[in-house]
Symmetry: C2
Subunit: 223 residues, 2 copies
Amino acid sequence: MARHEKISISVIRRLPRYYRFLGDLSRNGVLRISSKELSARMGLTASQIRQDLNCFGGFGQQGYGYNVDALHAEIGSILGISKIFPAIIVGAGNIGRAIAMNIGFENMGFKLTGIFDSSPDVIGMEIRGISVIDVSQLETFCKAHKPKIAVITVPQQAAPDIVDRLIKLGIESFWNFSHFDIAFNYPGIVVENVHLGDSLMTLCYMTNNLSALAAHQPQKTEK
Amino acid sequence: MARHEKISISVIRRLPRYYRFLGDLSRNGVLRISSKELSARMGLTASQIRQDLNCFGGFGQQGYGYNVDALHAEIGSILGISKIFPAIIVGAGNIGRAIAMNIGFENMGFKLTGIFDSSPDVIGMEIRGISVIDVSQLETFCKAHKPKIAVITVPQQAAPDIVDRLIKLGIESFWNFSHFDIAFNYPGIVVENVHLGDSLMTLCYMTNNLSALAAHQPQKTEK
DNA sequence: TAGATTGTTAATCGATTAACAATC
DNA sequence: TAGATTGTTAATCGATTAACAATC
């Protein structure tokens, strides 16, 4: 699928945002869009959009632009969201439950198949039709159901052990909300460390330095 | 505080992570650390750590390294987390409630002063000792309490109107969890668009391209 | 066709890494 | 003092932007 062998992480991280904007455009009945107009809506340069897309293929047409639906589908296919991987959530506290309820796993390449916790208060609770299982059953469950991704929503001190067990069980992807940083240096493991606290602190810095940052992100348009 | 007038966003985004690692080190009784050892723990280069810190000042000592507690305090002060800004959450659904319960606002420069929703089912509900208020009271509340930051956890279609009203009320910072992108081009407004769905889709891409990405993040160490 | 807009190469800009003199 | 490690300048690398020929 990829034209160039090595796609940079910066490009990859922009793909879901393209996908989102194109989905919105499609829902609003927009049939075609030029890189110039998309760039104005997204706050990017048209050049960057064309560069990004051409990492994967020539999806546009000179003099016309891009077909919204076709490009939306292409990016979905690049992201690989049609191939559904089984997912589990470990930690059924507030964050774990909120994610279970709010994230459209089905539209993002995943299907939620299990939720785990260690507290008797939540074990057995039904979340989105899934019953919370005792975390001691993790090994049994994973051997039977072979989940590919785990959402980590346990407290910091519990995280290293859970991650270690899951890696032994063959989990390849981690979506980590715990305060613990999953290292990137395991071979064959991919990780998204979310760290909401870091995001809030970044906002704190920006709030404190508002004047220095004023009109920070330039809304460049071509020509 | 800043030595150089313009600190890049890449540097700023690494600060909370430094702060977190230094806090952990401090709690583990580590008194001093060299950029080399910190780089090994964090998966960065020692050079980058020294460059980053020297944007703000010379906090180390040749031949010794950095005093963990002093550096931790310095970064906290750079982030500005001691000056507490009043914060509100708009949207008391799963995500809003999870954030209210889990995020240590007090340790991150903020104090939660109000939670809003439009649904009669949640209005009046107590979350962390705060009673959920009808969102129609937003104007009255904000004029009285002058919050500085708003956490946006409403559905996508409600977001544009809420953001518009909050900007009129003088809110300067947005921590946005809605599916709607708050544009960066308002003058004097700072925004963190979190977009958990984008993060999950990025992980989907990485999971699908695991082999190509294998051992992606190099753990460089000096010398 | 003429006008528009892509795909792609080249130029620029910024961020990361390397090197090393300064100094604790 | 000798060894270690910083702060800082220079070199490298990568990502973004600009330009334009190709072409629909």
